[in-house]
């Protein structure tokens, strides 16, 4: 009966959708619409995912027993400034979650004929995904890779619905928080055996190998995070000098920029997971994280954001903007500061804006961001688990892949042996991100941290839109924390 019920789940979901009337193609694919209007937060295939989306709770590692702390040991760690001493605390073992065993590794013939299916919010038409696939098919020429684009916001729900009826893909490539969520539903396979046979595994820091109760559930080939881009011309005219580093200094800089006749700041504050990644760093700067949020800290951060809106430094339109929308608006040349990720650097460099990059606002505990990037997971029902793993082994984790992905997509490779490469720090803008990456901090791996991150975003969205005040937002955040840590 349970099986029958499971098989009917998709249909039940359809009723739920029918009642909601959501017979809509995801706006991610259809609302790229008017420039600057924001569109949906997961718009334009690929980039937001790697950006707004993935730097989001992606790293919220959720119940994934992430290596906690900074991923300073990535190639970015060449700066040697990783702040690893602030690893968040959380439960080490997550009861009730386990990864499904996969077929044992075997010696596969290079002539094997098979098909590997992958679902991702990364568009298969982009050059770097094409290169990723080609690196694999160069090794296995008779294997077909079916790479299906699924919008960021729909990836988990589609996987859940498909799993009930059968037909789930072999692998998923996306934000690692998806692994945590899918693992709760029992859909993720244990890649430990494949990983342990991977000769280059020692080149990857623990922070990009996502383990659930000690078993490998996802691996990232690159990392990214958010930073602040500033318009050099505007801040010079406004007299912002030196560049701000704390919330108060940013607020003061915003005022100068507004007084000079420009919009001060752009960020994304949508009602989805991406917003939290842009606000949590302010808490990290105060030395607070999930489990340690205080009323004082929340009032400081939310009060600052509220003042930015009320004083006209940040447009309420941000409630409909993704990070990429914020950057796109910045590229119009009328905004002083904006959130942006390294994946936006190529577009920024093509724009006419003379820009620089600095870390997000910090505080007494330093300037930190939360890690992002995509990882791959082999799913438990995979028919070709080893080939699925090897697709990413060759396509994503190799040295050549690291360089390609950096050059084609602006993502910072995670391999340690690429850390000293001149091409990695040749671009001064990317070099700034490399420094920022070295100071990333993760969220503590509470079960439910992913859902909490989404609700955190909702709190900020309501604050920016005026539905909540700093005081009510603070109450909600503390209530959320109480539920999370209960």
């Amino acid at each position: 009966m349970v099986r029958v019920r499971q098989a009917a789940l998709a249909a039940a979901a359809a009723v739920c959708l029918a009642l909601a009337g959501c017979n809509v193609a995801s706006p991610s694919s259809s609302t790229s619409g008017p420039a600057g209007s924001g569109g949906a937060s997961e718009s334009s295939a690929g980039s937001p995912a790697t950006g707004g989306a993935s730097s989001g709770p992606g790293s919220a590692s959720g119940s994934v027993s992430a290596s906690g702390g900074a991923s300073g040991s990535t190639s970015a760690s060449t700066s040697g400034s990783a702040s690893a001493g602030n690893a968040p605390q959380g439960p080490e073992e997550i009861p009730g979650i386990s990864l499904a065993p996969l077929a044992a590794p075997a010696n596969l013939s290079k002539d094997v004929k098979a098909t590997v299916t992958v679902w991702s919010y990364e568009d298969p038409k982009t050059p770097w995904i094409q290169s990723l696939i080609k690196r694999f098919t160069d090794v296995y020429p008779n294997v077909t890779v079916n790479w299906t684009y699924v919008p960021f916001g729909n990836l988990v729900s589609k996987l859940l619905a498909t799993a009930t009826a059968g037909g789930a893909p072999d692998a998923v490539f996306g934000a690692p928080q998806f692994t945590a969520q899918l693992a709760q539903a029992g859909l993720v396979g244990d890649m430990s055996a494949y990983w342990n046979q991977f000769p280059d595994r020692s080149e990857f820091p623990d922070s990009v190998v996502w383990k659930i109760n000690g078993k490998v559930g996802a691996v990232q080939g690159y990392v990214n995070t958010g930073g602040i881009v500033y318009n050099k011309s505007i801040i010079t005219k406004a007299g912002v000098n030196p560049l701000p580093t704390t919330l108060d200094e940013f607020t003061a800089a915003f005022k100068k920029i507004k007084d000079a006749g420009y919009q001060a700041f752009a960020m994304g504050a949508t009602n989805d997971a991406t917003t939290e990644t842009q606000v949590l760093p302010y808490f990290l700067g105060l030395g607070e994280n999930y489990g340690t949020f205080t009323e004082k800290g929340a009032m400081t951060v939310f009060g600052a954001i509220d003042s930015w809106v009320k004083d006209g430094y940040l447009s309420k339109d941000a409630t409909g903007w993704s990070i990429n929308d914020a950057t796109n608006n910045f590229m119009a040349g009328k905004i002083g500061f904006a959130l942006a990720g390294p994946w936006e650097v190529p577009a920024l460099e093509k724009s006419k804006v003379d820009f620089g990059i600095i870390p997000m606002a910090g505080g007494p505990a330093g300037q930190h961001t939360v890690p992002g990037g995509e990882g791959f997971s082999v799913l438990s029902e995979s028919q070709q688990p080893q080939l699925a793993f090897e697709l990413f082994q060759y396509g994503l984790l190799s040295q050549a892949a690291g360089k390609d992905i950096f050059e084609q997509a602006g993502q910072i490779p995670a391999r340690k042996d690429l850390s000293g490469q001149p091409w990695l720090t040749k671009d001064p803008n990317i070099a700034e991100y490399v420094k920022i990456v070295a100071h990333m901090q993760n969220r503590p791996p509470y079960p439910g941290i992913v859902e909490a991150a989404v609700k955190f975003s909702g709190i900020v969205n309501a604050l920016v839109g005026g539905q909540d005040t700093p005081a009510t937002a603070t109450q909600q955040l503390l209530a959320l924390q109480k539920t999370l840590t209960k």
Binding site: A8, A12, C16, G21, C22, V24, T319, G465
Partner: protein, 322 residues
């Protein structure tokens, strides 16, 4: 039954039927039975379809609504919680706030769409070239996919969009209004867009109903000295009442389950200020993965839709009888 003449009613029926050249009562009954079987056979495919794609999923939905179903349980056993989910959503201030704004949104849309639709229908009644062009444009608006409409209006209503530009230029406002991002006006802005998309349909339906009114009746009214207002309120509206009623229910149900426009324009935000009950159900299911709670919300929404449908059927039958 035996008649006074001692002839059974059945025989009498048969005699009458034979006299009319038709089959006797027994034959008629046989025909009726045959017709009934045929009708049933024709209904089976539709019934099977509805059973598979509506009734059974609804059963699953109800089962889910009385269970604690999160992402960890979705593929396993669903722990029974009775009416716990319903109790939880009814005591949730967010749900209550969203329920109230859903009523306000839907009520406002129904009233304004009907009134504006009637006005538009009156204006479009005359067979002029201008009206023909107008109607063509209205049909164009009506057939536009909601995702495109939502994106378009999101652009138009942004702080640097056309509306704000014009209002600033006219000195109506001093600062741009974030129509879709300001808690105070976002719901009204969404309602306005929903009205914009729904008005053409309402106007065209009402105009079609008006064209069914015999011109002689309207002429008679004019001859009797009735003003345009009196003709509209005393003759036209009463005569198109069935169409108005049907339209009202369609608008009401359509507004209640609107999802795409909200999703594209505001994602229910800021906060939950533009969310409706069905949208909140979607968010609970597919963003928060709280399937049990979402199912309970959907059941509540389903009950509301059923009540509306019941009222519609009752009113329609009442109209038919009258």
């Amino acid at each position: 039954m035996i008649t006074r003449a001692g002839t059974s009613r059945r025989q009498l029926d048969r005699t009458i039927a034979e006299a009319r050249g038709g089959p006797a009562q027994g034959g008629r009954r046989g025909l009726r039975r045959h017709a009934s079987i045929t009708n049933t056979l024709f209904l089976i495919p539709a019934f099977v379809f509805v059973a598979i794609f509506s009734i059974y999923p609804m059963y699953i939905l109800i089962e889910m609504s009385i269970a604690r179903v999160g992402i960890a349980d979705i593929l396993g056993v669903w722990p029974y919680v009775g009416l716990g989910n319903f109790s939880e959503i009814l005591s949730d201030p967010t749900f209550r706030q969203v329920a109230v704004q859903t009523v306000i949104l839907v009520g406002g849309i129904v009233i304004v769409t009907l009134v504006a639709g009637l006005v538009a229908a009156f204006l479009l009644r005359a067979q002029t070239r201008f009206n023909a062009v107008t109607q063509t444009l209205m049909v164009l608006v009506w057939v536009l996919p909601p995702v495109i409409v939502g994106s378009l209006w999101k652009f138009l209503l942004s702080s640097d969009g056309v509306f704000n530009t014009v209002l600033l230029w006219l000195h109506v406002i001093r600062e741009p209004i974030a129509f879709l991002a300001d808690n105070g006006v976002a719901l009204a802005a969404v309602a306005m867009v929903m009205l914009w998309t729904g008005l053409p349909f309402a106007a065209l339906v009402l105009k079609a109903a008006m064209l069914d009114i015999s011109p002689e009746i309207l002429d008679a009214g004019q001859v009797d000295g009735a003003s345009n207002w009196q003709i509209a309120t005393r003759i036209v509206i009463p005569m198109i009442r069935p169409a108005v009623l049907t339209l009202a229910i369609l608008i009401l149900v359509g507004a209640f389950k609107t999802f795409d426009l909200i999703y594209v324009m505001t994602q229910g935000g800021p906060g939950t200020s533009t969310a409706t009950v069905p949208y909140l159900g979607y968010v609970s299911a597919f963003r928060d993965y709280n399937f049990g709670i979402a199912a309970a919300m959907s059941v509540v929404a389903m009950i509301v839709v059923l009540i509306m449908s019941g009222i519609y059927v009752w009113a329609l039958r009442r109209e038919e009888r009258s």
